[in-house]
Symmetry: C2
Subunit: 225 residues, 2 copies
DNA sequence: AGCCTTGTTGTGCAAGTGTATAAATAGCCT
DNA sequence: AGGCTATTTATACACTTGCACAACAAGGCT
């Protein structure tokens, strides 16, 4: 190509080209960039400049959509929790299946991708580690946890009801706490050391353990031998 | 008050008094101060000056005992993990008790203070959240986890052996994974929302769930009614 | 076309960061 | 008592951080 006339004025301060995006889009981009940055560099490494760079804007813009960094982090955490609980509950809305199958599907869904995911775990741990000092984080967690446990309790009631058993409220609560713990514990193991388990292994263990906890006769589907 | 004569020499630079402590003591103080700071302010808020202030020294001294901040944090994490696994295993060294009682004591110990503790949990979550990005943290966790799981596996083998059952390696592994998950999950619930549970409730749930997982006949000691 | 709103950039700033290094002094040794 | 040395303090420095604000321009409106 021939040397085209340099279109750049010699001392003109170059100003970056930009496009105006809708507010919804920009806010979401910034939140996603925040989660990416926190997952990769931690809370300490997630500076406004890092986040803005990842979102394709400059740092100053953040303050146009959020009062400050703290609020951005809070909204990012809320967004993360929303997505997690949404995915977790999605497995419960199946129809034309027995309660027991729905419970198994619920456990299985929580112990496979995309819920078993190192990045999501890293984010969860990073934020939850601040729950002790940050009341707003603590409250957000508490709500998510109780919502999750109530879902579990409802399915458990259905499963036991189908078996002609009538547990009282205390038993139901204990079952829900235990099952919630089983899922959480296996979720952590899978996220932190997924390659130590064969595909589906955690889900199989989870289902077997949950059914043992409820005192159900072993199913044939996931039995060992 | 009358204007007392200012005891301060006018331009003399005041230099802080200090005592020389042994190397072991200072290192431990700095590590403890680091853990305190991280628990209270998070990794981002734990600056060298904050840590040093808490340890009763000035920031420059840190570099006299540690090559840099990163090494201080790593040693602090190692110290934390060491204390945690040490406490957790302590419950296993009882003598003159049946394997089943030892298992129950192990579960119970892990679901009561001092292992159920919001500060320790906050530290664990903060550090573990960085495991995905920091290989040295990931390795430290992996070792602690496998060590813990092996302990569990050994007790499980004893318990089942005492019941005349001969599980193969795969079953044993699954039991250990499941029991580890139960303990971890209940530990998290207790740390994050301890006041939602009555004293001993989590331990009771844990023992019952673990025994159900192993297919043991319900014991009378912790039975509901 | 030209204007006007406002989304967006760029710069500046005070505070705080980790690290480097010089200066001081506490406490042991003789 | 007095000196020596290593522990400790204090200061300096280059850099980053979150935030404030002025300048700019993208894109709809008339």
């Amino acid at each position: 190509m021939p040397d085209a006339a340099d279109p750049a004025p010699m001392n003109a301060p170059y100003r970056r080209k930009f496009r105006r995006e809708g507010e919804e889009r920009r806010r979401q981009d910034l939140i996603d960039a925040t989660l990416d940055s926190v997952a990769e560099y931690g809370l300490q490494g997630a500076s406004l400049r890092t986040i803005a760079l990842r979102a394709g804007v400059t740092a100053g813009l953040v303050r146009h959509y959020f009062p400050g960094k703290e609020e951005l982090l809070q909204e990012a955490y809320a967004s993360l929790m929303g997505r997690m609980t949404e995915q977790a509950k999605a497995a419960l809305v199946m129809e034309n299946t027995s309660p027991r199958q729905r419970l198994a599907a619920f456990v299985s869904a929580n112990l496979n991708v995309p819920i078993i995911d190192a990045r999501v775990f890293s984010l969860w741990a990073t934020f939850i580690g601040r729950a002790g000092a940050d009341p707003s984080l603590a409250r957000a967690h508490r709500e998510g946890y109780l919502g999750f446990r109530n879902e579990v309790e409802a399915v458990v009631a259905e499963v036991l009801g189908a078996e002609q058993r009538k547990p009282d409220a205390g038993e139901l609560r204990h079952h829900a706490i235990a099952i919630n713990a089983i899922i959480d514990g296996l979720w952590i193991e899978g996220c932190l050391a997924g390659e130590m388990f064969s595909p589906g292994e955690l889900a199989a263990i989870g289902i077997k353990t949950v059914e043992a906890e409820l005192g159900l006769a072993p199913s044939t589907k996931f039995q060992e031998k």
